[in-house]
């Protein structure tokens, strides 16, 4: 389910941290979902994995315990080859496979909760300090004007939105930090579905969402 029209890609810092395995789970999910849709970032990730392999290959060898190889062969004999499970999107599906694993199915399995003004969300069960949610923004509607204390990754899965930075279509990912206050507005033609990951609560700029924030868990 790759898209040739992607203009907004992952940063080197995010790709390197994903390759190193140091990102919070919610951010890893957004990165894995974008790579599922973007061949360019998949290739760049390959380069960062190669850096990791080169660093490991350059490590001074550690001393292994006496019968390490024998113990490993015993493990192999206990559990033979694992079956191949293909991690691919169902035909015509909207959610990339890593997102579907958290939802337990495609779009029709998402348990949406309204958050006001037609916007709906579904929080995904990730561990750690960052959170991931699916957002459903009706065509032409806006997510309330907000800023960020930390980093927010927003990946478009269907439809498109626009904020003061640019226009974001399917597969595009916006990497927002604390410098950005924005009001994402969905395109008029189609409802917009996004995956958003944040490592700190959003900061709403008007009083109504601010009061509602503890209830919305955003």
């Amino acid at each position: 389910m790759t898209h040739d029209t992607i203009k907004h890609h992952l940063t080197d810092a995010l790709l390197m941290a994903y390759s190193a395995g140091t990102l919070p789970e919610a951010f890893s999910l957004a990165v894995a979902a974008h790579i599922s849709m973007c061949d360019e970032c998949r290739a760049r990730l390959g380069a960062f994995d190669t850096v990791g392999g080169a660093l490991m290959a350059n490590c001074d060898a550690a001393e292994m315990s006496a019968d390490s190889l024998g113990a490993t062969l015993a493990k192999i004999d206990l559990a033979e080859a694992q079956p191949v499970e293909r991690n691919v999107t169902a035909d015509g599906g909207v959610l990339p496979a890593p997102v579907r694993a958290y939802v337990g199915g495609d779009l029709d399995a998402v348990r949406w909760r309204p958050v006001g003004m037609g916007v709906k969300q579904a929080i995904l069960p990730t561990k750690g300090e960052a959170t991931a949610r699916l957002l459903y923004i009706p065509a032409g509607a806006a997510v309330p004007d907000h800023g960020h204390r930390g980093t927010e990754l927003t990946l478009v899965l269907r439809g498109a939105f626009e904020d003061k930075v640019d226009h974001f279509g399917p597969g595009d990912i916006e990497v927002a930090n604390e410098d950005l206050d924005h009001t994402p507005i969905a395109d008029i033609g189609e409802d917009c579905i996004c995956l958003a990951a944040t490592d700190a609560p959003l900061r709403f700029n008007s009083w109504l969402p601010r009061i509602a924030q503890p209830f919305l868990r955003i």
Partner: protein
């Protein structure tokens, strides 16, 4: 049984490791596995210890990583990753699971799997790139290499590296960027 070595394997030792994994995949070759184990297991263990595992945990995880190499050999594609890269990704995933106790969401697979007969030219080209990168990593100035290693091994965010090294966050980001630019340049 002495494995047949083609000329490229002698010139590019990495290709020999790829060939070992293919022999595991095709004939469950224990001699090939033993050779692979002797070379990579001590490096996987060193990587895990530098990531914060104690010696006993690193030993146990290394055995699991190497057992996974055997079990997943049918998924290895030498035209897409060198043996070192592929084993690194398995060790990295074990680290996230055992040390960070988190799940690791993976991108979906490409619609095609590894080919039965991997393309020799593609495998060779990929091996040459990987070797160039290994040399470029080894040739990085000490400060840049140290930061890249901390970022990969240390289970540290940039902010935590800042606290550990006393360097401001901006300096760390620009040094890592410099190191990446240098690696990219070395690849050209």
């Amino acid at each position: 049984m002495e494995p047949v070595k083609v000329k490229e394997e002698k010139e590019h030792p990495g290709l020999e490791w790829s060939a070992c994994i293919l022999r595991i995949r095709e004939t469950r070759d224990r001699a090939a596995f033993a050779a692979l184990f002797r070379h990579f297991a001590p490096r996987v263990k060193a990587f895990l210890m530098r990531s914060g595992a104690d010696a006993a945990m690193a030993e146990e995880c290394t055995q699991e990583v190497m057992a996974a190499v055997w079990q997943k050999a049918h998924l290895f594609d030498p035209s897409r990753a060198s043996a070192a890269t592929w084993i690194f990704t398995i060790a990295r995933n074990r680290k996230i699971d055992a040390l960070r106790k988190m799940k690791r969401p993976e991108p979906e697979d490409l619609p095609w799997g590894p080919e039965e007969e991997p393309d020799q030219e593609d495998s060779l080209a990929l091996q040459q790139e990987s070797e160039k990168l290994e040399q470029a990593v080894a040739a990085l100035p000490a400060k840049q290499r140290d930061l890249i290693e901390k970022a990969y091994f240390g289970d540290l965010s940039h902010r935590e590296i800042a606290e550990e090294t006393g360097l401001p966050l901006g300096t760390i980001k620009s040094r890592i960027r410099l190191a990446l630019d240098r690696l990219r340049h070395a690849m050209k």
